[in-house]
Symmetry: C2
Subunit: 466 residues, 2 copies
Amino acid sequence: MPEVLSSTPTKSNVRAALDELAAGMGNRLATSQAIREQHTNVTTWSPGPPPDGVIFPQDADDVHKAMRICAKHRVPVIPFGAGSSLEGHLNAPLGGISFDMKDMNRILAVNVEDFDCVVEPGVTRQQLNDYLRDQGLFFPIDPGADAQLGGMAATRASGTTAVRYGTMKDAVLAMKVVLASGEVLTTSQRARKSSAGYDLTRLFVGSEGTLGVITELTLRLHPIPEAIAGGVCHFPTIQASCDAAICAIQLGIPLARVELVDEVQIGICNGYSKLSLPEKPHLFVEFHGTDLGIKEQTERFAEIVEEFGGSPFEWSANPEDRSLLWKARHDMFWADKAYRPGSQVVVTDVCVPISRLAECVIETKDDIRQNRLVAPLFGHVGDGNFHTVVSVMMDDADEVERVKSFVSRLSERAIAMEGTCTGEHGVGDGKQPYLEAELGRCAVDTMGAIKQTLDPNGIMNPGKIM
Amino acid sequence: MPEVLSSTPTKSNVRAALDELAAGMGNRLATSQAIREQHTNVTTWSPGPPPDGVIFPQDADDVHKAMRICAKHRVPVIPFGAGSSLEGHLNAPLGGISFDMKDMNRILAVNVEDFDCVVEPGVTRQQLNDYLRDQGLFFPIDPGADAQLGGMAATRASGTTAVRYGTMKDAVLAMKVVLASGEVLTTSQRARKSSAGYDLTRLFVGSEGTLGVITELTLRLHPIPEAIAGGVCHFPTIQASCDAAICAIQLGIPLARVELVDEVQIGICNGYSKLSLPEKPHLFVEFHGTDLGIKEQTERFAEIVEEFGGSPFEWSANPEDRSLLWKARHDMFWADKAYRPGSQVVVTDVCVPISRLAECVIETKDDIRQNRLVAPLFGHVGDGNFHTVVSVMMDDADEVERVKSFVSRLSERAIAMEGTCTGEHGVGDGKQPYLEAELGRCAVDTMGAIKQTLDPNGIMNPGKIM
């Protein structure tokens, strides 16, 4: 593998870069300890030193100028979105400058007839959807957090709706990126499809800030469905819940979301949200379509649920009722956070072919039990993707060790089932140990070679992916 | 731009490579003039010398061995599928060895529950669909020709169903590729989604044989729809036909195909297929869904057609009736081939944001008229992608010149409308002059840098893309 990590810049290089940034950017540069610490990784348990400074670019020109300064002094650049990434993407192992994109949050164009929009990277998905509502369009990718769209592209985010609308690789039509060289790359035009050379758009989607800083995105939108129905049901076993979901997909029922939530997670949600759901594996399902279409889909789905021994399928197309049915799913993250006071939560994910999902989940739950971990589990069953939220008391060395070895086994288990160590969170520094086992040396070397070509001095988000 | 084209290999290098290939591959190497000429470009008007030899690998090991020999002697490698590419992809400007993949046509696995399959690159899409039929699944990408799946991946093919099922970038889950170094790259695992590092799968989809030889593909499949309906209608103007299609998409009607066919093409089809369709712009539409869903979709679509001044929308879910309604669309390629005896047809395509489609088509039709060309036009209106089939008498120097300048203007027009010079045919050598105008110098340089990194001696399909 080519050596792509730059060495830690000298103190004088960092000083020189900070001085030039201060001269060029004024109060859009911050160097206080507090702000720097807010820009290292806060949503993972993966420790990381803070950057040497944080800039708040106002436009692509700021990004371009700051990149030139960092490149000149060989100081690392760490693009920063909402800070909600989960695998240590924002750690600054060699110091450097965090580029906080929050002020670049303009919606530049909405092309209603083309079902696309052009935005700056700091726009969040909820901001975009609020803006779009009146125009009958929406942006479907929903990773849970109100992440910034630039960060979502950088980590190839997806979430609950991927089964119907795909991931960020499908949602991004084009990008503008400031490369490590300072050059501005346009990855594609705005047409819905193109076969004009290498797919640079997809190369940058999921590149985790290691190849450049995204300054503009063209995103694909969808018409807001005429009708939306949500429903919930439970099953005697994980296997039955997965089989029901697979059967529904096989019959062509166009599920918009199909979420598996295990009995441990249901128990935690019951406590948090004052519910009394049976502590069994649940499926939370959503349908998008016409009134007639949704009626047909829900009826068919209810038959499948019955066939696989599930509880009667309760559903509603009324927004308030839907919300109530899905309450446990919506509150889940907060329920998990609150469940074990004083603990840190380790949120991690894997993805396997859906035929292996039940097996992978069952083995993982056995592993959790055997290792006495508190780890509710839920997943996007239509994609074979699931998450565990492991709580850990950081002052309990034994528990920390058990969690670490659990995460390793989880990744290895998924890979052994022809799956991936990360379905939607990215590699960051957390999943690096598993990349070669998953894809082989040649793939990791190929990624390294591309990285080295586009960032020969290794200044872009060093220490991530490989 | 980095220099990625190798120079023509010396005669002694070619001789040495052929000798080693003959020793290693026996009668799976062919060097006769006839076979070599069958492996240069036959479906385009772009002239190109034949390769020095053609090999017929039986498995990945053959590809690997032959690649090592070609790399050792720095002799170009030109991967060859069904030969149906349209932009000079198979020309051998520096000679070299054509790798004809037709014997690598095994279907290695069909994973019904996972909606995927693993195939060798020489499997054609019809072969795959014939094989899948009993299992309730199908492979939706339909570029027209019965292309090989390896070639379809290499050119990022799409076609009539892209509006619903996407393009090869969406259909390919993973690949195995023999790189110029002889190493075997696995681009991804079989999981439906992954965020494990750079998207190597998408980098190789559309790379037109310039980065390696695909030896295996994992493809996403879909359940065969319960019901399929096809229909046809005509409009007073191109604008009205495009507006109707856009409106249908905006209302969320999940069109599976929506094909625009202009009045010139309809006239040619009438002659060829003994039809008497009005010589007006037509839409040919297909719906996939449940019986109930299709009924609803066709009724809604019929209302839209009426609103935009179209003829009554005739449709049927009966396979024979559907076939009859779509007859003109199905026979089109042959009708165009036969229309002007002795002429060569120049099939080219562009793609623009759909809001600009009508404008682009109207300007293009004016251009055709003003330049006295015979050029029927049809397109995948849901994607903003359209084709012209220009017939040209190759011995008429003036007409050849008019066709060349027309193709230039067509590409430039699409690019000026934020579109692409190639929606689904690829760059080959035919669209190279427009790539920089479309994406800018930085994008072309970035592609060149990636190419040089993965193929430093420039042996992979030289002279293509850039």
